[in-house]
Protein backbone atom coordinates (compact mmCIF):
# COMPACT_ATOMS: atom_id res chain seq x y z
CA UNK A 1 0.00 0.00 0.00
CA UNK A 2 0.96 3.68 -0.50
CA UNK A 3 3.73 4.57 2.02
CA UNK A 4 3.16 1.19 3.72
CA UNK A 5 0.30 2.78 5.66
CA UNK A 6 -1.19 -0.63 6.45
CA UNK A 7 2.03 -1.75 8.15
CA UNK A 8 1.92 0.88 10.89
CA UNK A 9 0.42 0.11 14.32
CA UNK A 10 -3.35 0.57 13.93
CA UNK A 11 -3.88 2.65 17.04
CA UNK A 12 -0.85 4.92 16.49
CA UNK A 13 -1.91 8.54 15.88
CA UNK A 14 -1.00 9.66 12.35
CA UNK A 15 -2.22 13.24 12.51
CA UNK A 16 -3.66 15.91 14.79
CA UNK A 17 -5.03 19.15 13.35
CA UNK A 18 -5.99 22.65 14.52
CA UNK A 19 -9.47 21.53 15.57
CA UNK A 20 -7.85 19.09 18.03
CA UNK A 21 -9.20 16.13 16.03
CA UNK A 22 -6.85 13.19 15.63
CA UNK A 23 -6.59 10.31 13.21
CA UNK A 24 -4.93 6.90 13.63
CA UNK A 25 -3.17 4.81 10.99
CA UNK A 26 -5.96 2.25 11.42
CA UNK A 27 -8.58 4.89 10.65
CA UNK A 28 -6.62 5.94 7.56
CA UNK A 29 -6.70 2.34 6.29
CA UNK A 30 -10.43 2.08 7.02
CA UNK A 31 -11.06 5.30 5.08
CA UNK A 32 -8.94 4.11 2.16
CA UNK A 33 -11.04 0.98 1.74
CA UNK A 34 -14.26 3.04 1.70
CA UNK A 35 -12.69 5.55 -0.70
CA UNK A 36 -11.64 2.78 -3.08
CA UNK A 37 -15.27 1.68 -3.37
CA UNK A 38 -16.61 5.21 -3.83
CA UNK A 39 -14.59 6.21 -6.89
CA UNK A 40 -13.62 4.44 -10.11
CA UNK A 41 -9.88 3.95 -10.61
CA UNK A 42 -7.99 6.39 -12.83
CA UNK A 43 -10.46 9.20 -12.16
CA UNK A 44 -9.16 12.75 -12.12
CA UNK A 45 -9.89 14.32 -8.75
CA UNK A 46 -9.35 17.89 -7.48
CA UNK A 47 -8.53 18.36 -3.79
CA UNK A 48 -9.25 21.78 -2.30
CA UNK A 49 -6.54 21.51 0.28
CA UNK A 50 -6.32 22.93 3.77
CA UNK A 51 -3.94 21.61 6.39
CA UNK A 52 -6.65 19.51 8.00
CA UNK A 53 -7.40 15.85 8.49
CA UNK A 54 -10.18 15.86 5.86
CA UNK A 55 -7.77 17.12 3.23
CA UNK A 56 -5.08 14.63 4.25
CA UNK A 57 -7.59 11.77 3.92
CA UNK A 58 -8.48 12.84 0.37
CA UNK A 59 -4.79 12.77 -0.54
CA UNK A 60 -3.92 9.37 0.91
CA UNK A 61 -7.26 7.96 -0.28
CA UNK A 62 -6.55 8.98 -3.87
CA UNK A 63 -2.91 7.86 -3.90
CA UNK A 64 -3.91 4.46 -2.48
CA UNK A 65 -6.80 3.91 -4.90
CA UNK A 66 -5.26 4.73 -8.25
CA UNK A 67 -7.26 7.97 -8.34
CA UNK A 68 -5.20 10.94 -9.57
CA UNK A 69 -5.47 14.14 -7.53
CA UNK A 70 -4.64 17.70 -8.44
CA UNK A 71 -3.98 19.37 -5.10
CA UNK A 72 -4.85 23.07 -5.08
CA UNK A 73 -5.38 25.51 -2.26
CA UNK A 74 -8.90 25.79 -0.88
CA UNK A 75 -8.30 29.52 -1.27
CA UNK A 76 -7.70 29.23 -5.01
CA UNK A 77 -9.28 32.14 -6.82
CA UNK A 78 -12.59 31.11 -8.42
CA UNK A 79 -11.61 32.03 -11.96
CA UNK A 80 -8.39 30.02 -11.68
CA UNK A 81 -10.34 27.01 -10.39
CA UNK A 82 -12.74 27.31 -13.31
CA UNK A 83 -9.85 27.54 -15.76
CA UNK A 84 -8.34 24.38 -14.26
CA UNK A 85 -11.70 22.58 -14.30
CA UNK A 86 -12.44 23.50 -17.92
CA UNK A 87 -8.91 22.60 -19.00
CA UNK A 88 -8.47 19.26 -17.22
CA UNK A 89 -12.04 18.00 -16.68
CA UNK A 90 -11.99 16.32 -13.23
CA UNK A 91 -14.79 13.80 -12.61
CA UNK A 92 -14.68 14.41 -8.84
CA UNK A 93 -13.88 17.11 -6.32
CA UNK A 94 -12.97 16.73 -2.65
CA UNK A 95 -13.82 19.95 -0.86
CA UNK A 96 -14.43 21.36 2.61
CA UNK A 97 -18.15 21.29 3.41
CA UNK A 98 -18.40 25.07 3.64
CA UNK A 99 -17.27 25.38 -0.01
CA UNK A 100 -19.88 23.01 -1.41
CA UNK A 101 -22.64 25.54 -2.23
CA UNK A 102 -20.36 27.50 -4.57
CA UNK A 103 -18.91 24.56 -6.50
CA UNK A 104 -21.83 23.20 -8.52
CA UNK A 105 -22.00 19.51 -9.43
CA UNK A 106 -23.70 16.74 -7.52
CA UNK A 107 -22.94 16.58 -3.79
CA UNK A 108 -22.59 12.91 -2.86
CA UNK A 109 -23.15 11.39 0.58
CA UNK A 110 -19.51 10.26 0.76
CA UNK A 111 -18.08 12.54 3.40
CA UNK A 112 -15.40 12.48 6.11
CA UNK A 113 -13.83 14.90 8.58
CA UNK A 114 -15.50 18.00 7.17
CA UNK A 115 -14.82 17.12 3.52
CA UNK A 116 -17.32 15.83 0.95
CA UNK A 117 -17.03 14.17 -2.44
CA UNK A 118 -18.63 16.08 -5.34
CA UNK A 119 -19.38 14.55 -8.73
CA UNK A 120 -18.83 17.17 -11.42
CA UNK A 121 -20.64 15.35 -14.22
CA UNK A 122 -17.49 15.75 -16.34
CA UNK A 123 -15.64 12.81 -17.77
CA UNK A 124 -12.05 12.26 -16.63
CA UNK A 125 -9.51 12.48 -19.43
CA UNK A 126 -7.37 9.45 -20.24
CA UNK A 127 -4.47 9.25 -17.76
CA UNK A 128 -0.99 7.80 -18.20
CA UNK A 129 -0.81 4.55 -16.22
CA UNK A 130 1.95 5.70 -13.88
CA UNK A 131 0.56 9.20 -13.31
CA UNK A 132 -0.04 9.60 -9.55
CA UNK A 133 -0.34 13.27 -8.66
CA UNK A 134 -0.58 16.74 -10.16
CA UNK A 135 0.59 19.93 -8.48
CA UNK A 136 0.50 23.52 -9.70
CA UNK A 137 3.92 24.89 -10.64
CA UNK A 138 3.43 27.93 -8.49
CA UNK A 139 1.59 27.17 -5.27
CA UNK A 140 -1.67 29.05 -5.33
CA UNK A 141 -0.57 31.59 -7.90
CA UNK A 142 -1.86 32.26 -11.38
CA UNK A 143 -0.73 29.55 -13.75
CA UNK A 144 -2.72 26.48 -14.85
CA UNK A 145 0.54 24.70 -15.70
CA UNK A 146 0.92 21.49 -13.69
CA UNK A 147 3.73 19.14 -12.72
CA UNK A 148 3.08 15.43 -13.37
CA UNK A 149 4.31 13.03 -10.67
CA UNK A 150 4.60 9.24 -10.83
CA UNK A 151 3.96 6.86 -7.92
CA UNK A 152 7.67 6.15 -7.83
CA UNK A 153 8.46 9.90 -7.56
CA UNK A 154 6.43 10.22 -4.39
CA UNK A 155 7.71 7.05 -2.76
CA UNK A 156 11.32 7.89 -3.67
CA UNK A 157 11.04 11.42 -2.26
CA UNK A 158 9.43 10.15 0.95
CA UNK A 159 12.15 7.55 1.41
CA UNK A 160 15.02 9.91 0.54
CA UNK A 161 13.74 12.54 2.95
CA UNK A 162 13.22 9.93 5.66
CA UNK A 163 16.85 8.88 5.28
CA UNK A 164 18.15 12.45 5.07
CA UNK A 165 16.60 13.39 8.42
CA UNK A 166 16.75 9.93 10.00
CA UNK A 167 13.00 10.04 10.68
CA UNK A 168 11.41 7.59 13.10
CA UNK A 169 7.91 7.00 14.42
CA UNK A 170 8.77 9.21 17.40
CA UNK A 171 8.70 12.42 15.37
CA UNK A 172 5.95 15.03 15.86
CA UNK A 173 6.64 17.37 12.93
CA UNK A 174 4.85 20.68 12.60
CA UNK A 175 3.24 20.41 9.16
CA UNK A 176 2.40 24.04 8.58
CA UNK A 177 3.51 24.51 4.98
CA UNK A 178 0.44 24.23 2.76
CA UNK A 179 -0.48 20.81 1.40
CA UNK A 180 -0.75 22.11 -2.17
CA UNK A 181 2.90 23.17 -1.96
CA UNK A 182 5.42 20.47 -2.84
CA UNK A 183 7.46 20.84 0.33
CA UNK A 184 4.31 20.73 2.48
CA UNK A 185 3.35 17.41 0.86
CA UNK A 186 6.90 16.15 1.27
CA UNK A 187 6.78 16.75 5.04
CA UNK A 188 3.52 14.79 5.12
CA UNK A 189 4.52 11.82 2.98
CA UNK A 190 7.97 11.34 4.53
CA UNK A 191 6.58 11.33 8.06
CA UNK A 192 3.68 9.03 7.20
CA UNK A 193 6.24 6.63 5.74
CA UNK A 194 8.10 6.82 9.06
CA UNK A 195 4.89 6.12 10.98
CA UNK A 196 5.18 9.44 12.84
CA UNK A 197 2.47 11.80 14.15
CA UNK A 198 1.85 14.88 11.97
CA UNK A 199 0.80 18.09 13.64
CA UNK A 200 -1.23 19.65 10.83
CA UNK A 201 -1.80 23.36 11.08
CA UNK A 202 -3.25 25.98 8.80
CA UNK A 203 -2.47 28.68 11.30
CA UNK A 204 -0.17 31.60 10.79
CA UNK A 205 3.06 31.73 12.76
CA UNK A 206 1.67 34.95 14.16
CA UNK A 207 -1.30 33.15 15.69
CA UNK A 208 -1.16 32.40 19.40
CA UNK A 209 -2.83 29.06 18.71
CA UNK A 210 0.14 28.00 16.61
CA UNK A 211 2.48 28.34 19.59
CA UNK A 212 0.07 26.55 21.88
CA UNK A 213 0.13 23.63 19.44
CA UNK A 214 3.94 23.68 19.29
CA UNK A 215 4.11 23.23 23.05
CA UNK A 216 1.06 21.05 23.68
CA UNK A 217 2.03 18.47 21.06
CA UNK A 218 5.73 18.64 21.89
CA UNK A 219 6.68 19.33 18.29
CA UNK A 220 10.05 17.84 17.32
CA UNK A 221 10.69 19.49 13.95
CA UNK A 222 9.77 22.60 12.06
CA UNK A 223 10.05 23.11 8.31
CA UNK A 224 9.88 26.63 6.95
CA UNK A 225 10.67 28.89 4.01
CA UNK A 226 13.08 31.84 4.42
CA UNK A 227 10.18 34.12 5.31
CA UNK A 228 9.13 31.80 8.15
CA UNK A 229 12.55 32.29 9.66
CA UNK A 230 12.34 36.07 9.33
CA UNK A 231 9.07 35.87 11.23
CA UNK A 232 10.51 33.60 13.89
CA UNK A 233 13.37 36.02 14.52
CA UNK A 234 10.86 38.84 15.00
CA UNK A 235 9.10 36.69 17.58
CA UNK A 236 12.36 36.32 19.51
CA UNK A 237 12.41 32.63 18.64
CA UNK A 238 15.97 32.31 19.90
CA UNK A 239 14.77 33.02 23.42
CA UNK A 240 11.82 30.65 23.40
CA UNK A 241 11.89 27.55 25.50
CA UNK A 242 11.08 24.67 23.14
CA UNK A 243 12.91 21.66 24.61
CA UNK A 244 11.30 19.08 22.30
CA UNK A 245 12.11 20.92 19.09
CA UNK A 246 15.21 19.22 17.70
CA UNK A 247 15.23 19.85 13.96
CA UNK A 248 14.71 23.15 12.20
CA UNK A 249 14.88 22.88 8.46
CA UNK A 250 14.51 25.29 5.61
CA UNK A 251 13.77 25.17 1.90
CA UNK A 252 11.89 27.21 -0.68
CA UNK A 253 14.51 29.83 -1.44
CA UNK A 254 17.63 31.44 -0.15
CA UNK A 255 17.99 32.85 3.34
CA UNK A 256 20.09 35.93 3.94
CA UNK A 257 23.59 35.25 5.23
CA UNK A 258 22.79 36.94 8.52
CA UNK A 259 19.68 34.87 9.12
CA UNK A 260 21.38 31.64 8.07
CA UNK A 261 24.23 32.22 10.51
CA UNK A 262 21.85 33.12 13.30
CA UNK A 263 19.97 29.81 12.98
CA UNK A 264 23.13 27.77 12.54
CA UNK A 265 24.62 29.30 15.71
CA UNK A 266 21.38 28.95 17.63
CA UNK A 267 21.16 25.26 16.76
CA UNK A 268 24.75 24.63 17.73
CA UNK A 269 24.40 26.38 21.08
CA UNK A 270 21.13 24.70 21.99
CA UNK A 271 22.04 21.19 20.87
CA UNK A 272 19.54 21.24 18.01
CA UNK A 273 20.16 20.76 14.31
CA UNK A 274 19.61 23.27 11.53
CA UNK A 275 19.33 21.72 8.08
CA UNK A 276 19.05 23.90 4.98
CA UNK A 277 17.62 22.11 1.95
CA UNK A 278 16.97 22.77 -1.71
CA UNK A 279 14.21 21.51 -3.94
CA UNK A 280 11.69 22.14 -6.68
CA UNK A 281 8.17 20.98 -7.47
CA UNK A 282 9.69 19.47 -10.62
CA UNK A 283 11.69 17.05 -8.45
CA UNK A 284 9.00 16.15 -5.90
CA UNK A 285 10.31 18.66 -3.38
CA UNK A 286 13.73 17.92 -1.98
CA UNK A 287 16.96 17.46 -3.90
CA UNK A 288 19.84 18.68 -1.72
CA UNK A 289 20.62 19.33 1.92
CA UNK A 290 23.38 20.74 4.05
CA UNK A 291 24.24 18.25 6.80
CA UNK A 292 23.66 19.86 10.20
CA UNK A 293 27.32 19.58 11.21
CA UNK A 294 28.28 21.85 8.28
CA UNK A 295 25.70 24.55 9.06
CA UNK A 296 28.11 26.85 10.87
CA UNK A 297 30.92 26.55 8.34
CA UNK A 298 29.11 26.47 4.96
CA UNK A 299 26.89 29.54 5.31
CA UNK A 300 24.06 29.68 2.76
CA UNK A 301 25.13 26.44 1.08
CA UNK A 302 22.48 23.96 -0.06
CA UNK A 303 25.05 21.25 0.64
CA UNK A 304 25.08 17.97 -1.23
CA UNK A 305 22.60 15.75 -3.06
CA UNK A 306 20.08 14.01 -0.86
CA UNK A 307 20.41 10.25 -0.37
CA UNK A 308 19.37 8.56 -3.60
CA UNK A 309 20.16 11.62 -5.74
CA UNK A 310 23.11 13.05 -7.64
CA UNK A 311 24.11 16.64 -8.41
CA UNK A 312 26.35 17.98 -11.14
CA UNK A 313 27.27 21.24 -12.83
CA UNK A 314 27.34 22.06 -16.52
CA UNK A 315 29.77 24.93 -17.01
CA UNK A 316 29.71 27.60 -19.70
CA UNK A 317 31.66 25.38 -22.06
CA UNK A 318 28.96 22.73 -21.78
CA UNK A 319 31.16 20.39 -19.74
CA UNK A 320 29.44 18.41 -16.99
CA UNK A 321 31.36 17.65 -13.79
CA UNK A 322 30.38 15.86 -10.59
CA UNK A 323 33.20 16.94 -8.29
CA UNK A 324 35.82 19.64 -7.78
CA UNK A 325 35.28 23.38 -7.99
CA UNK A 326 32.94 24.50 -10.77
CA UNK A 327 30.32 27.04 -11.66
CA UNK A 328 27.32 26.72 -14.01
CA UNK A 329 23.83 25.28 -14.28
CA UNK A 330 23.05 22.74 -11.59
CA UNK A 331 21.65 19.40 -12.76
CA UNK A 332 19.96 16.79 -10.58
CA UNK A 333 19.43 13.08 -11.18
CA UNK A 334 17.23 10.83 -9.11
CA UNK A 335 14.02 8.84 -8.92
CA UNK A 336 12.16 11.89 -7.62
CA UNK A 337 12.59 13.78 -10.91
CA UNK A 338 9.00 14.14 -12.08
CA UNK A 339 7.57 13.03 -15.42
CA UNK A 340 7.18 16.54 -16.87
CA UNK A 341 4.60 19.30 -17.20
CA UNK A 342 0.99 19.39 -18.30
CA UNK A 343 -0.67 22.39 -19.88
CA UNK A 344 -3.80 20.63 -21.20
CA UNK A 345 -5.83 17.45 -20.53
CA UNK A 346 -4.15 15.57 -23.41
CA UNK A 347 -0.80 15.98 -21.63
CA UNK A 348 -2.06 13.74 -18.82
CA UNK A 349 -1.57 10.80 -21.15
CA UNK A 350 2.11 11.61 -21.67
CA UNK A 351 4.76 9.38 -20.15
CA UNK A 352 8.13 10.28 -18.69
CA UNK A 353 9.75 13.18 -20.52
CA UNK A 354 12.61 13.84 -18.10
CA UNK A 355 14.10 10.34 -17.73
CA UNK A 356 15.29 11.10 -14.24
CA UNK A 357 17.39 14.15 -15.18
CA UNK A 358 16.47 17.72 -14.23
CA UNK A 359 18.23 20.83 -15.48
CA UNK A 360 17.33 22.99 -12.53
CA UNK A 361 17.59 26.41 -14.15
CA UNK A 362 19.60 27.52 -11.13
CA UNK A 363 23.19 28.66 -11.39
CA UNK A 364 25.39 27.11 -8.75
CA UNK A 365 28.96 27.11 -7.54
CA UNK A 366 30.53 23.96 -6.13
CA UNK A 367 33.41 24.34 -3.70
CA UNK A 368 36.38 22.05 -3.25
CA UNK A 369 34.54 20.10 -0.54
CA UNK A 370 31.67 19.32 -2.90
CA UNK A 371 29.16 21.72 -1.34
CA UNK A 372 26.83 23.60 -3.67
CA UNK A 373 25.85 27.28 -3.41
CA UNK A 374 23.04 28.81 -5.48
CA UNK A 375 24.31 32.01 -7.10
CA UNK A 376 21.63 32.90 -9.64
CA UNK A 377 18.79 31.75 -11.81
CA UNK A 378 18.39 31.09 -15.51
CA UNK A 379 14.61 30.88 -15.53
CA UNK A 380 12.36 33.91 -15.35
CA UNK A 381 10.72 33.68 -11.97
CA UNK A 382 11.09 35.18 -8.50
CA UNK A 383 10.59 33.52 -5.14
CA UNK A 384 9.08 35.88 -2.59
CA UNK A 385 7.73 34.51 0.70
CA UNK A 386 8.16 31.04 -0.84
CA UNK A 387 5.71 32.01 -3.57
CA UNK A 388 6.96 31.39 -7.06
CA UNK A 389 6.09 34.37 -9.24
CA UNK A 390 6.43 33.66 -12.96
CA UNK A 391 7.49 36.90 -14.64
CA UNK A 392 6.10 35.95 -18.05
CA UNK A 393 2.78 35.04 -16.46
CA UNK A 394 2.49 38.35 -14.63
CA UNK A 395 3.31 40.21 -17.86
CA UNK A 396 0.60 38.34 -19.73
CA UNK A 397 -1.97 38.99 -16.99
CA UNK A 398 -1.24 42.71 -16.95
CA UNK A 399 -1.25 43.01 -20.75
CA UNK A 400 -4.51 41.10 -21.03
CA UNK A 401 -6.27 43.16 -18.37
CA UNK A 402 -5.04 46.66 -19.10
CA UNK A 403 -3.98 46.85 -22.73
CA UNK A 404 -0.52 48.21 -21.93
CA UNK A 405 2.99 47.14 -22.71
CA UNK A 406 4.57 45.54 -19.68
CA UNK A 407 7.86 44.05 -18.54
CA UNK A 408 8.57 42.38 -15.20
CA UNK A 409 11.83 41.93 -13.35
CA UNK A 410 12.98 41.99 -9.74
CA UNK A 411 14.70 39.92 -7.11
CA UNK A 412 13.57 37.72 -4.25
CA UNK A 413 12.63 40.83 -2.26
CA UNK A 414 10.31 42.53 -4.70
CA UNK A 415 8.64 42.37 -8.08
CA UNK A 416 9.26 45.34 -10.38
CA UNK A 417 6.69 45.98 -13.08
CA UNK A 418 7.48 48.36 -15.93
CA UNK A 419 4.42 49.73 -17.71
CA UNK A 420 3.84 52.52 -20.21
CA UNK A 421 0.44 53.63 -18.90
CA UNK A 422 0.88 56.03 -15.96
CA UNK A 423 -2.66 55.45 -14.71
CA UNK A 424 -1.70 51.91 -13.67
CA UNK A 425 0.75 52.95 -10.99
CA UNK A 426 -1.92 52.90 -8.30
CA UNK A 427 -4.00 49.90 -9.35
CA UNK A 428 -1.39 47.33 -10.37
CA UNK A 429 -0.11 46.28 -6.93
CA UNK A 430 -3.62 45.37 -5.78
CA UNK A 431 -4.43 43.69 -9.10
CA UNK A 432 -1.28 41.56 -8.94
CA UNK A 433 -1.96 40.66 -5.32
CA UNK A 434 -5.50 39.55 -6.27
CA UNK A 435 -4.12 37.24 -8.97
CA UNK A 436 -0.96 35.91 -7.35
CA UNK A 437 -1.40 36.47 -3.57
CA UNK A 438 1.85 38.43 -3.54
CA UNK A 439 1.60 41.16 -0.86
CA UNK A 440 1.07 44.46 -2.70
CA UNK A 441 3.86 46.26 -0.85
CA UNK A 442 6.31 43.90 -2.53
CA UNK A 443 5.18 45.10 -5.98
CA UNK A 444 6.88 48.20 -7.37
CA UNK A 445 5.47 49.84 -10.48
CA UNK A 446 7.72 51.94 -12.68
CA UNK A 447 6.13 54.00 -15.42
CA UNK A 448 8.38 54.23 -18.50
CA UNK A 449 7.94 55.92 -21.87
CA UNK A 450 8.67 52.79 -23.76
CA UNK A 451 9.77 49.24 -23.07
CA UNK A 452 12.88 48.91 -25.13
CA UNK A 453 13.48 45.78 -27.15
CA UNK A 454 16.24 44.65 -29.44
CA UNK A 455 15.57 43.58 -33.03
CA UNK A 456 14.62 40.04 -31.98
CA UNK A 457 11.96 41.39 -29.64
CA UNK A 458 13.87 40.62 -26.48
CA UNK A 459 13.57 43.26 -23.76
CA UNK A 460 16.77 45.20 -23.16
CA UNK A 461 17.61 45.54 -19.51
CA UNK A 462 16.54 49.02 -18.44
Amino acid sequence: MFLDLDKKPKDKVAAIDDSGASLTYGEICGFISRFTHALPQRSLFFIFAENKIGSLLGYVGALSSSVVPLVISAKTEKTLYETLRDKYSPAYLWAPNEMLPGLGGEITDFSEAGYTLVKTGLQSPALYEDLALLLPTSGSTGSPKLVRHSYRNIEANAFNVLRLFGLTENEHPMAVLPMHYTMGLSVISSHLLAGATLILSGRSLLDKGFWQMMREHRVTSFTGVPYSYELLSKLRFFRMDLPDLYTITQGGGKMTEELFKAYADYAEQKGKRFIATYGQTECTARMAYLPAELATTKTCSIGIAEPGGQLSIIDKDGRETFEGEAEGEMVYRGENVTLGYATCAEDLLKGDENYGVMHTGDLARRDADGCYFIIGRLKRFLKIYGLRIGLDEVEQMVKAEFNTDCHCKGDDEKLIVLVTDARLKEVLPAFIEGKTHLFHQRVEVHVVKEIMRNETGKVIDQ
Binding site: K208, K234, F439
Partner: protein, 79 residues
Amino acid sequence: MTNLEKLNRIFCEVFNVEESALDSGFDKCNIEGWDSVRQLSLSTAVEDEFDIMLDAEDILEFTSYDNVNRILAKYEIEL
Protein backbone atom coordinates in the same frame (compact mmCIF):
# COMPACT_ATOMS: atom_id res chain seq x y z
CA MET B 1 0.80 64.64 11.87
CA THR B 2 -0.78 63.29 15.06
CA ASN B 3 -0.03 59.81 16.31
CA LEU B 4 -3.51 58.68 15.34
CA GLU B 5 -3.02 59.99 11.83
CA LYS B 6 0.31 58.19 11.60
CA LEU B 7 -1.26 54.93 12.76
CA ASN B 8 -4.18 55.26 10.36
CA ARG B 9 -1.85 55.92 7.47
CA ILE B 10 0.06 52.72 8.27
CA PHE B 11 -3.17 50.71 8.29
CA CYS B 12 -4.34 52.27 5.02
CA GLU B 13 -1.06 51.47 3.31
CA VAL B 14 -0.75 47.91 4.58
CA PHE B 15 -4.35 46.96 3.84
CA ASN B 16 -4.90 49.22 0.85
CA VAL B 17 -8.10 50.71 2.30
CA GLU B 18 -9.60 54.15 2.96
CA GLU B 19 -9.35 55.63 6.42
CA SER B 20 -13.13 55.39 6.85
CA ALA B 21 -12.85 51.59 6.89
CA LEU B 22 -10.89 51.64 10.15
CA ASP B 23 -13.28 50.90 12.99
CA SER B 24 -13.84 48.31 15.69
CA GLY B 25 -14.91 45.75 13.06
CA PHE B 26 -11.51 46.04 11.32
CA ASP B 27 -9.97 42.76 12.46
CA LYS B 28 -8.41 39.50 11.37
CA CYS B 29 -11.79 37.73 11.09
CA ASN B 30 -13.41 40.37 8.88
CA ILE B 31 -10.55 41.47 6.69
CA GLU B 32 -9.59 39.08 3.97
CA GLY B 33 -5.86 38.62 3.61
CA TRP B 34 -4.94 39.50 7.21
CA ASP B 35 -2.19 36.93 7.05
CA SER B 36 1.24 36.74 8.65
CA VAL B 37 2.78 38.87 5.91
CA ARG B 38 0.37 41.72 6.60
CA GLN B 39 0.49 41.33 10.35
CA LEU B 40 4.26 41.55 10.37
CA SER B 41 4.31 44.48 7.93
CA LEU B 42 1.92 46.23 10.25
CA SER B 43 3.92 45.56 13.40
CA THR B 44 7.22 46.47 11.72
CA ALA B 45 5.78 49.73 10.36
CA VAL B 46 4.44 50.59 13.81
CA GLU B 47 7.82 49.86 15.40
CA ASP B 48 9.60 52.07 12.87
CA GLU B 49 7.08 54.90 13.02
CA PHE B 50 6.89 55.14 16.81
CA ASP B 51 10.44 54.00 17.52
CA ILE B 52 9.44 51.17 19.83
CA MET B 53 10.33 47.47 20.09
CA LEU B 54 7.26 45.30 20.45
CA ASP B 55 7.26 42.18 22.59
CA ALA B 56 6.55 38.93 20.75
CA GLU B 57 3.28 38.52 22.66
CA ASP B 58 2.16 41.93 21.42
CA ILE B 59 3.00 41.12 17.80
CA LEU B 60 0.78 38.05 18.14
CA GLU B 61 -2.00 40.37 19.35
CA PHE B 62 -1.81 42.60 16.26
CA THR B 63 -5.07 41.10 15.09
CA SER B 64 -7.42 44.10 15.03
CA TYR B 65 -7.42 47.87 14.75
CA ASP B 66 -8.67 48.12 18.34
CA ASN B 67 -5.97 45.79 19.65
CA VAL B 68 -3.25 47.83 18.02
CA ASN B 69 -4.65 50.99 19.61
CA ARG B 70 -4.67 49.29 22.98
CA ILE B 71 -1.16 47.88 22.63
CA LEU B 72 0.26 51.27 21.67
CA ALA B 73 -1.12 52.68 24.90
CA LYS B 74 1.00 50.09 26.72
CA TYR B 75 4.09 51.56 25.10
CA GLU B 76 2.94 55.02 26.16
CA ILE B 77 2.10 56.16 22.66
CA GLU B 78 -0.84 58.50 23.07
CA LEU B 79 -3.32 58.47 20.25
